[in-house]
Symmetry: none
Subunit: 403 residues, 2 copies
Amino acid sequence: MPAQVEIFSQGEEVITGQTVDTNAAWLSQKLVDMGFSIKRHTTVGDHLNDLKTLLNEVSLRADCCICTGGLGPTSDDLTAQAVAEAFGRPLQLDPVALQQIEQHFTRRKRIMADANRKQAFFPQGAVRIDNEWGTAPGFAIQQGRCWFVFVPGVPSEMKAMFDKHIAPLLLQRFSLQPDRLITLRSVGIGESDLQEKINTLSIPQSVQLSFRAGSDEVQTKLLFPAGTEPQQMKMLVNQVVRAIGDYIFAVDNLDKRQGGLVDTIDQLMQQAGYSLSIQETASQGLIAAKCIAKPWLVSSIYSQSFISSSENDYLQTAKQLAAKIRQQEKTDLVLVQLYRGSQQQFQQKEQNILLYTLLLTPDGCQSSEFTVGGDIKRKQNQAAILALDLLRRYLQIPEYSKD
Amino acid sequence: MPAQVEIFSQGEEVITGQTVDTNAAWLSQKLVDMGFSIKRHTTVGDHLNDLKTLLNEVSLRADCCICTGGLGPTSDDLTAQAVAEAFGRPLQLDPVALQQIEQHFTRRKRIMADANRKQAFFPQGAVRIDNEWGTAPGFAIQQGRCWFVFVPGVPSEMKAMFDKHIAPLLLQRFSLQPDRLITLRSVGIGESDLQEKINTLSIPQSVQLSFRAGSDEVQTKLLFPAGTEPQQMKMLVNQVVRAIGDYIFAVDNLDKRQGGLVDTIDQLMQQAGYSLSIQETASQGLIAAKCIAKPWLVSSIYSQSFISSSENDYLQTAKQLAAKIRQQEKTDLVLVQLYRGSQQQFQQKEQNILLYTLLLTPDGCQSSEFTVGGDIKRKQNQAAILALDLLRRYLQIPEYSKD
């Protein structure tokens, strides 16, 4: 019987629907991967009695509970107080926490508000969980059956704290037998097409197959039960990769975690020692923005004047633009994207635009053409992703399609 | 005391984090606007005992519960069975529901699978809720203190059923008095500084004050109880606005919903008839990306060569750059951002960079300087937001600081 864990989110903005609770899903995925069984997610608002009632309930029925939110400096942040009252453990100053909070402000050359002192008080018996990413430290405490962990609700802080501090503690405290989840990450192909490509294979009943479509990629997930032979796992994964083909840019968790499309490109660009300049249209800065601080990105230009063109000869226009940019910027690679469609077609979600992307390389040109629909943010994001994927395809030797 | 409602989501894909539960947030917003008080969101997986336990708990403590998911045709859809067993109300065929399901398939020229018959069985005493948008009808049932409503988890069906059938039923059954939420949206100031600025005011106990920090803005929220005099509400909001000052770029829901920073700028730019070109560094395309398809943005250039400079005279460098861009692009406004800091300082979250932003206008120059910390994505986003805020401050007449 795997350890039973609950997720508990706190905050008026979540309970009233101002914020969609993405923390619960993120934590659940991590915990399932580690081998926990997730029993409940619960959200309550910033009300002391609601918090206390829930804490008491959970302490009786779960082995572990991860709680997000309510650790801020303001008067509506009540988590520590609720824990103190519910479990009869008075709040005590943690001097190290206070020091950390003060340092956080000193480093930013700001003065700590008096309100922030509150964030250094923990219920008696709590263990501090450091937060190097924001002001509020978290804490952990055992009460009844349950080991509670409290972290801030700010997703970036919560995630960093979970990965660096909480996951190792969980592995120490619980004896877990995780299933093995292998994720095939792809761009330029949809869920149903992926399913059809895989349908030809015979996948054992014990292996759970699922798909997940995000804005930047589509993932094919294979969940192998604990104890599956590595050799057997690798064979099946390779079969699936071959069936899907070069839409796949990375396979996570077979040998290692490989990261997203930009991470993959970053590795390949650094290996090859190439430099890149970009001309953006529909993506409007988003290609460059996704490549933040990558040393191989020399420049990116967005200009309204190239947004749309009624010409049919995109290849010629794009080639001329690319050659001009190469001359100016002296980069090994030049990525140029154009699109066909009016401003209205771009802005209305019922209408499509045609994206034309060209990559000028030392070995000549490569290009791609895609029709893209959806609202304007989706079109913008797809434009960026499909441009980056053309670059990835040029750089990547398809290692997973070889044995 | 407003009626207390809970949201209950069911499904393995939600509890394991494969799907983010957007239904709960959507329903909560609707219900808060109607005047309900939301007490809890709870999610459980497709396990009969977990469902029954939760249904019994809720029947004792809530006035109303909206339940999504678990009404499908497959064996893991257990909601109706759980209700039947938990509340001792055997499942009974609803002939009208069966007819509707059959018609759904006939209209699509498809044959109804035997499994779909199951969806026409409701617990004894339930009232059918029609679903014109999918196969599974919903149902409502009173048990103990609580009126339960069960709808499919497919967001499009759930939303259509709520708006057309469920909202009118709720208005009939509950006597509701909606509160009024007014949101003050600001940039360039943190939660604790906001709290301190407001501390000088005396806010009535009946008005609930809260804060919300996002990556793009910080919100100050004032929740007024139903029946507050509009004049009184406006007076207090104006006091708070004056106390905070021109960090505020918009006030939502006093006269109207105003939208985010870019929406505010968009309105002001269109009113003024200005055009803009941008030189980006730390934001690396993100200023342009946030202004997607805004007709007044003429061009944006990111270039590595301007990333960092050891010079002290930022003003001079930025002015020269801006003048050059204005000459090239012929725009009314030119926004130039530079920063001081090495690549390493930019990339390491423990280190800060200094952002220097200059706006060249027909009436001269305006500039701002900020120290920004956090991981690279936070620095990038802050750079974009603070540059846009300089533009907003130039365009906006502070209407809320006048009476």
